[in-house]
């Protein structure tokens, strides 16, 4: 009986914790939306965060994008052998990068870096009473700390994704020429053949949503930190794990909705 009771207790606690996280993140998101009117007051903080999130992530994005594009080209060429004309190599690399690899992989690598950094910074501020001090100065931490980070993430993720898309296609094109022997003109012709602006837009909608998730998970986990250095470490880890999981799950639902919208528009 005690084992059964413990099982119920553990399950109950897990459900309660999950509901608390869902409730907490929803309230934080609504809180930020309600304060958006005050964004001009925190434009300096927002700009600094955009710099930190955007410029700081560029080296990581360059390496990730170049190699993702290169792998996409190699993999596609391998599967095309003797069955599909190589002119479609550019099409496949372009489509997969713009629709999926660019937004998702950029979000995962940038999310790891940025959500960890936000959670660690806010978590340290929480355990050292800096957030209490801010409250005491009658400065709203949601406006001063959370909103600039979330807005910066939502703006910078699409920018980084465009950058990553271009680099990944470039990486694919270079590998196609060197390793597969597909000329640059053939590759770009294939790329242009099925290039739709809607694809780019859907990739950017995904990127902006992932940016929101990264900012929200970083801020939420930072704000609920307790227990000193160990607590900061725990919050940082939770921010990274939760943002990665949420990005992957949201990606599926966004893909379903966005493809349906694009397909519907394409057929009417």
């Amino acid at each position: 009986m005690p084992t059964l009771r413990n099982t119920f207790r553990t399950v109950g606690r897990s459900i309660f914790n999950l509901l608390a996280v869902v409730g907490g993140t929803s309230l934080m998101l609504l809180g930020v939306i309600a304060r958006l009117i005050e964004l001009p007051r925190t434009s300096r903080q927002t700009f600094l965060q955009m710099q930190e999130i955007g410029l700081g992530s560029i080296p990581l994005v360059i390496i990730t994008a170049l190699f993702v594009g290169a792998v996409a080209a190699v993999q596609a060429a391998y599967q095309f052998q003797d069955y599909v004309p190589m002119i479609f190599l550019g099409t496949v690399v372009g489509k997969s990068v713009i629709l999926e690899l660019g937004p998702v992989l950029t979000a995962l690598v940038v999310g790891g870096r940025v959500s960890a950094s936000i959670a660690a910074e806010l978590g340290t501020m929480k355990v050292t009473e800096q957030i209490d001090a801010m409250e005491l100065l009658a400065i709203d931490p949601m406006r001063y700390l959370v909103m600039p980070r979330m807005v910066a993430c939502v703006i910078m993720l699409p920018v980084l994704t465009i950058f990553a898309d271009c680099l990944a296609i470039f990486g694919g094109m270079v590998v196609a020429k060197i390793a597969v022997g597909v000329s640059t003109s053939t590759f770009t012709e294939g790329l242009r053949m099925f290039f739709y602006v809607d694809d780019v837009i859907s990739g950017l909608v995904k990127a902006a949503t992932f940016g929101l998730i990264i900012g929200l998970m970083g801020c939420f986990n930072g704000f609920r930190t307790f227990g000193g250095a160990q607590g900061v470490g725990r919050a940082t880890m939770q921010a990274v794990v939760s943002s990665c999981i949420c990005i992957l799950i949201t990606n599926y639902f966004l893909a379903s909705v966005l493809f349906r919208l694009i397909f519907y528009r394409g057929t009417t």
Partner: protein
């Protein structure tokens, strides 16, 4: 000047009852020192006064207004009349000393950069710090951080200042500078002050009244002379700093 009143304040964290019916009134312009063992809820009581925590039972009244019942906007308006010196200084790591001291002025007033810089310099001079405006907290010693925290607390000319262990970690001379400053603010500007401390020399010097918190309740309150002469066994053991006595080791932890 603000009048503060704690009426039967109870607070519990998980299974730990920290405050168990605290009653304490602080009259306008008065300086009350709260003493007691570590972990008896002194800092928790301070956080209730400014609405950082809400009581489970009872009420904290500031000028007869229940702090826990205020809307967030009203609470922020009230907090602008307070200043607080934190135990850990709680300076913003990413800002310079001048930005820390001037942050509230920048956020809540229309003052120019020059005016803000002037006020910051003046407040830093008051706490014996000059030429550190452009440093960041990581470049300061513990005592300097505390004094910057003090300057930040008084930057907006508050009507009430709460001090959470203001002299802990300072050398005796600097402790006396801070004590003199608390006395000066209290006597010249008639600021209401609440000081949480373990430093009895400081308590005797700055306090108009000293209250001792033990097991979540105020067990004694009186003037420094009254506390020196009291026969209350718990208070005597605490002010004499004896390990032996009715207060068991670890009872307040």
């Amino acid at each position: 000047m603000l009048r503060l009143e704690c009426k039967n304040v109870w607070k519990q964290f998980d299974d730990k009852h920290v405050l168990q019916g605290v009653n304490l009134t602080i009259e306008p312009g008065e300086t009350v020192v709260i003493i007691g063992q570590s972990g008896t809820g002194k800092s928790v009581l301070l956080k209730h006064i400014v609405g950082l925590l809400s009581p489970d039972r009872g009420a904290v009244l500031v000028d007869n207004v229940n702090v826990a019942k205020l809307s967030r906007k009203k609470l922020f308006e009230l907090r602008m009349r307070f200043g607080m010196v934190f135990q850990s200084a709680a300076l913003f790591d990413s800002l310079t000393v001048a930005e820390n001291v001037g942050l509230a002025i920048r956020e809540h007033t229309e003052k120019t950069d020059e005016e803000i810089a002037q006020i910051c310099d003046e407040k830093l001079r008051m706490v014996g710090l000059e030429g550190v405006s452009s440093k960041v907290p990581a470049e300061l010693s513990g005592g300097m951080k505390k004094r910057v925290g003090f300057a930040r607390a008084i930057a907006m000319n508050p009507e009430c200042v709460l001090y959470d262990e203001p002299t802990t970690g300072l050398d005796p001379i600097m402790s006396d500078v801070i004590n003199n400053l608390i006395v000066k603010l209290s006597s010249e500007l008639k600021i209401t002050s609440v000081v949480v401390t373990h430093d009895l020399a400081s308590a005797y010097k700055v306090g108009h009244r000293i209250a001792m918190l033990h097991d979540g309740v105020v067990i004694f309150q009186g003037t420094p002379d009254e506390i020196r002469e009291t026969d209350h066994p718990l208070v005597r053991q605490f002010i004499e700093g004896r390990a032996e006595g009715p207060i068991m080791m670890g009872s307040g932890q």
